[in-house]
């Protein structure tokens, strides 16, 4: 019994030292390199990647590490203790679940986005309006209901009185868009920014303003680190706003 207890104590110690230190590594405290870890909504993939490059070019010695997922996943990751300095979410509802203890300072909106239907370039399903999505011959893909894009799509569909013929609920907006880019789905409800970023690889079909949803993108700081503050300010600069607008976002 004593040996078992000693063993358990020893391995608990070993796990504490060896297992968890790999995941730690508090960002931003290195003497030479200033790292900012950003977890962001997947719809921000293209624009934030470009903005991070701009920032690193303007601030030598900084390193912006980006990770993209559905906003609901980002919040779950943060609540489970993921090391992050800054998060950018699609819509304000996902932030409701965010552990308040991790928030440093307030949140600011960096951009806003609306929904749009994406179809393959040839539009094989002949989708021209949101009401077409109810056709039983169509393969429609949406985001999973927990992700903001899925939540917003459900609201838009219900406002339009449409029961879409859905074949799959994907984890995040980029996975949803991918099914259309691959030609496997006839239509998907994604963000306007995704259609713009995808360029010619998908075709956009407008959703009327009367049923469309607008999502604000809050930027929330999780650490007091000065480089993080600098990057957060940079995100609101004219240069960054231009990047966001180029990718189909609206900016304040």
């Amino acid at each position: 019994m004593g040996r078992v207890a000693a063993g358990v104590a020893a391995l608990a110690l070993a796990l504490g030292v060896a297992g968890c230190s790999a995941a730690g590594g508090t960002p931003g405290n290195g003497p030479t390199r200033h790292t900012v870890v950003v977890l962001a909504a997947s719809s921000l993939t293209e624009s934030l990647t470009a903005i991070a490059k701009d920032f690193e070019a303007a601030h030598p010695g900084t390193d912006v590490q980006l990770s993209f997922a559905a906003s609901s996943t980002v919040v779950t990751q943060v609540n489970q203790g993921a090391p992050a300095d800054l998060i950018a979410l699609a819509g304000t509802s996902a932030a409701g679940r965010l552990d308040a203890k991790r928030i440093v300072g307030g949140s600011r909106s960096v951009a806003s986005n609306t929904l749009e239907i994406a179809t393959p370039p040839g539009n094989p399903g002949k989708v021209n309006a949101i009401t077409d999505l109810s056709r039983a011959t169509l393969k429609v893909v949406l985001c999973v209901a927990t992700a903001p894009c899925g939540e917003a799509a459900a609201k838009a569909l219900s406002a339009a009185g449409v029961v879409a013929h859905v074949v799959s609920y994907e984890n995040d907006v980029k996975a949803t868009l991918a099914k259309v880019q691959l030609g496997e789905a006839d239509a998907a409800i994604v963000y306007h920014s995704d259609v713009v970023s995808a360029g010619g690889r998908v075709r956009g079909v407008q959703i009327p303003a009367s049923v469309n949803q607008t999502l604000d993108y809050p930027l929330i700081r999780l650490t007091d680190d000065p480089t993080t503050a600098e990057f957060a300010t940079f995100l609101l600069s004219d240069q960054s706003r231009r990047r966001l607008r180029d990718n189909g976002f609206q900016t304040p």
Partner: protein, 260 residues
Amino acid sequence: MRSVRWARAGLVFPAWVAIAVLLVPLLALLLKADWAGIPAHLANPTVVPALRLSLLTTTSTLVICALIGTPLAWLLARSTHRATPWLRALVTVPLVLPPVVGGVALLMAYGREGVVGRTLLEVAGWSIPFTPVAVVCAEVFVALPFYVLAVEGAMQGLDPRYDGLAATLGASPWRTFRTVVVPMVAPGIASGAALAWARALGEFGATITFAGNFPGRTQTAPLAVYVALESDPQAAIALSLVMLLISVVILGALRGRWLR
């Protein structure tokens, strides 16, 4: 004496760490479960359809693996052709391939725009992605190598004199395979089947990539766990416990072979 004790500690300590690495997460699952609420969480509308779909697709996968995998295992075990080792290596590839890569490969093959899928759609009007058939495709792709390798191993251990004897008694190769080989390697087939079934049950990456995620149609138990983790974590834990229980039962069934 002292050095012996230290040498022993040098083995015992890493062994304890290994045990912790394997058991701590499983114990955590048990500790974090809301045991009183489990029946209610299992009644979550996504849980039962997901378990039913998993049961249906993994059983189909097992039947397919047995029908096509057993003959392949036999040919690999008995072939002396110089290409055989290469073929054996090739059928092992899905074993080491990341499942999500398998899913992409399946899309490229059987997707609507895929190499085979396009013809299938034009000629027969079938589109495989987003259907339970796609789930079975993904599961067979990842589980078949486990089955083939396990059964082939058992068949290689079978003395070739049995086949020779059956042949001299006038049995055709098919009859030898059916009445001599298969009954004699039955334990190998059983463990191959259990391994393949467990692998199919746990399939996630290839399924979500190739078959998508739709409750009742392509949302298997692992996909339901992943989705529920964000909406209803306790339902995810409850479903995880059901899958853990199933895995333990499978392991129990294999006890004779692996747990001595």
